[in-house]
Symmetry: C2
Subunit: 372 residues, 2 copies
Amino acid sequence: MRGYLRESFLQPVATEVLFAYIYLQPVSTVPRRVLFMKSTPTTISDIAERAKVSKSTVSRVLNDKSVVNKQTRRTVLEAMESLGYQANVFARGLASGRSMTVGVVTQKIGSPFFDMMMQGVIQGFSGTGYSPIFVDGQMEDVTEYKVIQTLLGRKVDGLLLLGGDLSHLDLNDLRNRIPTIVVGKEVPGWDDQCVYVDNVRGAYDATKHLIDFGHRDIAIIRGILHHQDAIRRFEGYSQALAEAGIELDPELVLEGNFTAQSGILAINSLLMRGKSFSAVFCANDMVAYGARLTLQRKGIRVPEDVSLVGFDDQAESAFVTPPLTTVRQPGAEMGAAAASALVSMMEGKPFELPVLRAELQRRESVSKIRMS
Amino acid sequence: MRGYLRESFLQPVATEVLFAYIYLQPVSTVPRRVLFMKSTPTTISDIAERAKVSKSTVSRVLNDKSVVNKQTRRTVLEAMESLGYQANVFARGLASGRSMTVGVVTQKIGSPFFDMMMQGVIQGFSGTGYSPIFVDGQMEDVTEYKVIQTLLGRKVDGLLLLGGDLSHLDLNDLRNRIPTIVVGKEVPGWDDQCVYVDNVRGAYDATKHLIDFGHRDIAIIRGILHHQDAIRRFEGYSQALAEAGIELDPELVLEGNFTAQSGILAINSLLMRGKSFSAVFCANDMVAYGARLTLQRKGIRVPEDVSLVGFDDQAESAFVTPPLTTVRQPGAEMGAAAASALVSMMEGKPFELPVLRAELQRRESVSKIRMS
DNA sequence: TTGTATGCGTTATCAT
DNA sequence: ATGATAACGCATACAA
């Protein structure tokens, strides 16, 4: 029955897992118990018969494109209500060619930042009639291809790419074929179809903040080596240092991979080297958590002995002790803005993407350096 | 065009937001650039023509139900590959009546525990050919109805309810109509279609742990008042107290709503009352974070002065300072088990649900009470 | 304003 | 083993 799904090369759809988030609007008070009981789905034909009109008319009131007689309309609506009609998505999709659904490719579902963006996306599509379908690219461009293929197979009306590693060429082909917007990634030549924050600037601000507080030996725990955001954040860090006339010390540059575990490892190796440092700029908040824990284990206090800055401002960061100073990425806003824009795009309306900024959240993990 | 979506009472589908997570399996090396470029989707008719067979035959190799001549099969497959065929989900769904898709109703996407369950669900469906569609019931049973209605409209082949407030009666109607499994909630009479952990036991263990460490004035910050889990956890707390011969002090029972903010409020009001306490059992980890922060602000140390226990064991809890002692809910395992079981159920195979347990994770937020 | 007829891409039921 | 052909439920161009 579904053997082909596993077997055939042309069915990447196969092992998918669809993940849907549904927003609702107020619905009439249809008797509850009835909802789950009826077993024979009613179709427009049923409605037509009941309302003594043709199927086309029913379809018309359903889509209210062409004008329908007020009275006829009422009759049809009543028939629908009493029969508990619910349109068949498949039939509708087949006939119309549109799915009222858009594909959202994320890089890592379950990670704080992408979750924020997704929340925003969900909100942005709320009430528009479009349903986003989120899929995970798993941070690999090959996977991303497959995933997008699948989405196209599902006949999505538009595409929202959250980050991703697709090349310019491919992106260009893509947007040629279907309305597409990229979120959280700067794509040259896509200025109008792209929402992102300036990671360089965010990292610069964070580092500058540390420098302003008297820190000079500032370590950095980087994100994944080839990851765009990680690269940009490192760039911001370097810039701030250079601007302050502080030479970048390679020994203060640690590798990491955005996990708390990598924060632990990094601090450990830093301590092992015996390098002295008074502050650490982390690739993201999770890394900062790991760093903070290790420091504490070694009897090093935050922020008294070492200051800490994260990136993302995930929900927990305002509540950990001490509350983490971090660069807030307006993930939700980005997602929401992108979603609205995409809707306009799909409907051929003009749209504009806002310029969002990564804002430093000053909390309590940073202190002025003690003059010893 | 989509006006009806907003207007008609019978289109709860309307403002939905679909959220899909797609798993993939290795796919043949189709030339990349081609993937995004072809603009006219090929159909089985195209394949049939190319392979000089009938549509029926093409459909057969697609579904490999009945036997197809080996050679014919090869020809068809080749035609498919060269034409880059991709099945149309709508047509397939319309014709077959099945969607290879299952609805997953969660209570709160974005909250740590439900996220864990979703991860498990995603994993559980991986490779099965079924795609889960997650929808949010927003912790309201009315919303839950609408949401399920929508799912039924989408022709899901099965239903996975993560928590939820549906009544027995409704649940029974539901499972009468479609394969259903409930996760994270105990439903009388559903023993075989239900995966859950014993919240009473988990809370009991946590409280007992505190008592064993010498604590007697143990406060509790409860979850949402009418929330099943919150009620059960309170019950476990009460039981442990009773068993130890400690009288439950109403003044040590605080209200909360599972958020860090409510943890802050609770501790504040507790402190205000001047009640003395040496330990706090929190409804979940987020609440514990809030509690911990407030305690620290007041100069009260954890665990030296006050011990803290959470519930859930969300990802951050092992890395905060001090690492939080908490009751781990095997959310991922629950989700995965439920998913596998549902698949068997939908395919008419026998299945069995495992008995999972909430395990206390002893970390560092609890200490023996100082004998003063 | 309303009805008729056709097509959307598959699956499924017959035949052959 | 394979080929016609009729659904599937809805949208839509075309008539009326």
